[in-house]
């Protein structure tokens, strides 16, 4: 009797089926949860895809896109793909070209193809226009002779080679140009001539200025972040608000006020002159000093915040421990405290550096022509010359450089952090 009452609750609860493995059952149970989580982040994922990844991808694609010639003279471009590039193209190819040129005469497609060809070889635009105006060629005549009669250049292999190269749907032209290189007639990569080479300089300048700004931010931000962690909560909160204050002001307002402060008749120069430190006003704005001052000011919070968050987690007891072990105070700080702040130093520097690499407004307003960074040229090509290919190529190079830097950095920073991560 007792036995039955004891076993009955077991019998009532359905025993788990033995044939389904535990892992499968766990997966089933987790699936619902996973789907729910995915559904929750789906709007964000879609948003990011539509307004971030897709436009950026489309822009980057423009750096290798080459639509003008293959769009303006599609049949010719296709026909030239089969040409081996030696001597002159076959008669059949010429026939396609002549026919297409005649049909395309006066269209915008032909005009942009001609303009594009002109960037590869000076004079190509007028060559195309002149030839198009001379169409049609007399019926049944020798096409090669007819073309050469219009212009001698049609008898040169180079003319056709340039068209064949420009007719391909993708090109490395913009990317190479952004790195001050180009393809020569044989398709080998050569450096651009000195008067044409500007972008490597610009990139180097962008890197250098970002580095200086990062170091300035680090030098100013590190002591402040340390002060923030060692002050009592009340005063550190007040100081924190002061640190964050720049975040709440428009960047344009801040740049404008720096111009007011730093100009030759501005407050800083007046004060220095009144104190008798300088006799003549210093040139502090519209040159590199002005850009450094303003960018450091604007980016300082991005350095302080990661530093502060890391320092907040380091117990002051480590410094005491180091001293109790016989290490003088400053050495203790350097050997025990500082290495523990490195993740914050890395994070802050990376943030500031990457942000400075893309800076546009501040150098544009506070710098002279020698202070313009890569973003200025991207804006220039987008807004003024409508050269999307060049703008996209410069963006790609900038993005690539940033990513490369990030990978190198995170590998190094990641290594130094591994021991702390393994718990």
């Amino acid at each position: 009797m007792t036995a039955t009452t004891l076993t009955s609750p077991d019998a009532a609860a359905a025993p788990p089926p033995r044939d389904v493995p535990l892992k499968t059952r766990l997966k089933r149970a987790e699936r619902r949860k996973k789907l729910l989580h995915l559904a929750l982040i789906a709007p964000l994922a879609v948003f990011l895809l539509v307004v971030f990844l897709w436009p950026i991808g489309a822009l980057l694609k423009r750096s290798v896109d080459n639509p003008e010639v293959s769009g303006g003279l599609p049949a010719t471009s296709t026909a030239l793909e089969h040409w081996n590039g030696q001597g002159l193209p076959e008669a059949s190819t010429l026939a396609v070209f002549v026919k297409e040129l005649e049909a395309a005469r006066g269209t915008t497609g032909l005009a942009s193809a001609a303009k594009r060809l002109n960037t590869e070889m000076t004079g190509y635009r007028s060559l195309i226009m002149k030839t198009a105006r001379a169409m049609p060629l007399p019926e049944g005549s020798d096409l090669q002779a007819g073309l050469t009669a219009i212009d001698l250049r049609w008898g040169e292999a180079l003319t056709w080679q340039v068209m064949a190269r420009a007719g391909k749907p993708y090109t490395s032209y913009y990317l190479l140009a952004a790195l001050d290189h180009k393809l020569d007639a044989d398709g080998a990569i050569i450096a651009a001539t000195e008067d044409q080479a500007i972008y490597l300089d610009v990139l180097g300048r962008t890197f250098w200025m970002s580095l200086v700004v990062t170091l300035c931010c680090l030098a100013l931000g590190f002591p402040l972040a340390y002060l923030l962690t060692s002050l009592p909560t009340r005063s550190s909160n007040l100081l924190m608000i002061l640190v964050l204050l720049p975040f709440w002001t428009s960047i344009l307002v801040r740049v404008a006020s720096w111009i007011v402060l730093l100009q030759s008749g501005g407050l800083v120069n007046q004060a220095l002159q009144a104190l008798g430190i300088i006799d003549e006003p210093l040139q502090l704005v519209f040159n590199r000093i002005g850009v450094y001052i303003a960018m450091t000011h604007i980016l300082l919070p991005f350095m302080i915040l990661p530093l502060y968050s890391v320092m907040k987690g380091i117990s002051p007891i480590y410094l005491r421990a180091a001293q109790s072990l016989g290490c003088p105070p400053f050495q203790s700080f350097w050997k025990v405290y500082f290495p523990q702040t490195l993740p914050g130093v890395f994070a802050g520097s990376l943030l500031v550096f990457i942000l400075s690499m893309g800076y546009y407004i501040t150098p544009a307003l506070l710098g002279g022509p020698q202070e313009q960074m890569a973003s200025y040229f991207i804006a220039f090509y987008t807004n003024e010359t409508i050269n999307w290919g060049m703008a996209a190529a410069l963006s790609t190079v900038l993005l690539g450089a940033t990513l490369l830097l990030y990978v190198v950095y995170s590998r190094y920073a990641g290594q130094s952090r591994t021991p702390i991560k393994t718990r």
């Binding site: 005491r320 001293q323 109790s324 072990l325 016989g326 523990q340 021991p419 702390i420 393994t422």
Partner: protein, 371 residues
């Protein structure tokens, strides 16, 4: 020979009239006079805020005394910065440097002292062997268990051969079993090294287990400094009696006193005979205190000077002993701890029972002043 003996007698550390205040209003340490003998294991025991940690920090050099002098081996060290004191210290949460391996942590105090590399290696190896963690030199502190980190912290505080080692509640973060194990281990280490240990804790059983002497702190003053046994058996005031172990205490008035013996009148009118430990004049208010295990029940109570009849309120079985809560009437109650084997008759709640307290174990003490 006589001179050598006098050196032996000279205290290792002396606090004389040391005061400490942080805000200029309240004294965290009131008037500290303490002599720490060379080679002893002294524990500073007290509730939190009693000034024991401040006292340790002043000795380590992280706090400066507001007044008074601290001497180590005869030299005043008030103005010596912590890194020149050559005092080993184990911190509450070990404070092992997380960016260094265990071996690098142990190496740190030695390389700061610019010892030759071969000496450093030998000492590090010896220190690791001392705490039996030879195989863990290349690990990072986070990869060790709490007990292992504790042992490394200990090894690091000892590796540079200091004469004095301070420990600030080093076992607080360990679980009970490990803590008890480490207590014994530290005690043995102390015995084998023969250097002076000063240990801070608020855990009295830890203090009783490990120490040669215990200084009981309350409100910035040392209430009593003595061996574990004397602290427990002969507390010198009501605070110590209440803080160390369990006590039954009763308020009363001193009725008469002759030498060691005295009589105290309780509010109920009962007069009890007690030992005068720390009492004022006749008529002053007094606290009488007795340990639960010193109260005798039933037949055993026959020879006691103080005998009552009480009622059993509650019985708590604790395995090795039984705790009996007795009702003395007038809302007074008495806790009795008795071994199972001493309970000849079964007792039940509600039943009246004979109780006896020997006068030698009932101590009359001055009451704790109101805060």
């Amino acid at each position: 020979m006589a001179e050598q003996a006098s050196i032996q007698q000279e205290p290792h550390v002396t606090f004389s009239h040391v005061q400490k205040t942080y805000d200029g209003e309240t004294l965290i340490v009131r008037d500290l006079n303490l002599e720490i003998r060379r080679g002893e294991f002294l524990t500073l025991l007290g509730p939190s805020g009693s000034g024991k940690t401040t006292c340790l920090m002043m000795l380590a050099g992280f706090e400066t005394p507001t007044a008074g002098e601290i001497r180590v081996g005869g030299d005043v060290i008030n103005k010596v910065p912590p890194h020149r004191r050559n005092i080993g210290m184990v911190f509450q949460n070990y404070a092992l440097f997380p960016h260094m391996t265990v071996a690098e942590n142990l190496r740190f105090p030695l390389s700061v002292r610019k010892l030759p590399a071969a000496d450093i290696d030998a000492k590090v190896k010896r220190a690791l062997a001392m705490v039996r963690l030879e195989a863990f030199g290349n690990r990072y502190p986070q990869q060790l268990s709490g007990g292992q980190q504790q042992r490394i912290a200990l090894a690091r505080a000892l590796v540079f051969d200091p004469e004095l080692v301070l420990m600030d509640e080093p076992l607080g973060a360990l679980d009970k079993q490990l803590r008890e194990h480490m207590q014994i281990e530290i005690k043995h280490l102390h015995a084998s090294l023969g250097i002076t240990f000063v240990f801070v804790t608020h855990d009295q059983s830890e203090a009783l287990t490990m120490s040669d002497r215990i200084a009981v702190f309350d409100r910035g003053e040392i209430q009593q400094i003595d061996t574990a046994e004397r602290l427990y058996e002969e507390p010198s005031n009501a605070f110590v009696a209440g803080f160390i172990g369990e006590s039954n205490t009763f308020q009363g008035t001193l009725l008469e006193r002759s030498g060691d013996a005295c009589a105290v009148r309780l509010p109920s009118g009962t007069v009890v005979h007690a030992r005068a430990a720390d009492v004022g004049g006749v008529g002053s208010s007094t606290v009488v205190s007795v340990r639960p295990e010193r109260v005798l029940l039933n037949g055993a109570s026959g020879d006691c000077e103080n005998r009552f009849t009480a009622r059993v309120k509650e019985l708590i079985y604790q395995g090795d002993h039984v705790r009996v809560q007795l009702d003395l009437g007038n809302q007074a109650s008495l806790m009795v701890k008795t071994a199972i084997s001493d309970l000849t008759h079964a007792i039940h709640p509600g039943q009246p029972i004979e109780v006896g307290i020997p006068a030698t174990h009932l101590r009359a003490l001055a009451p704790t002043p109101a805060p």
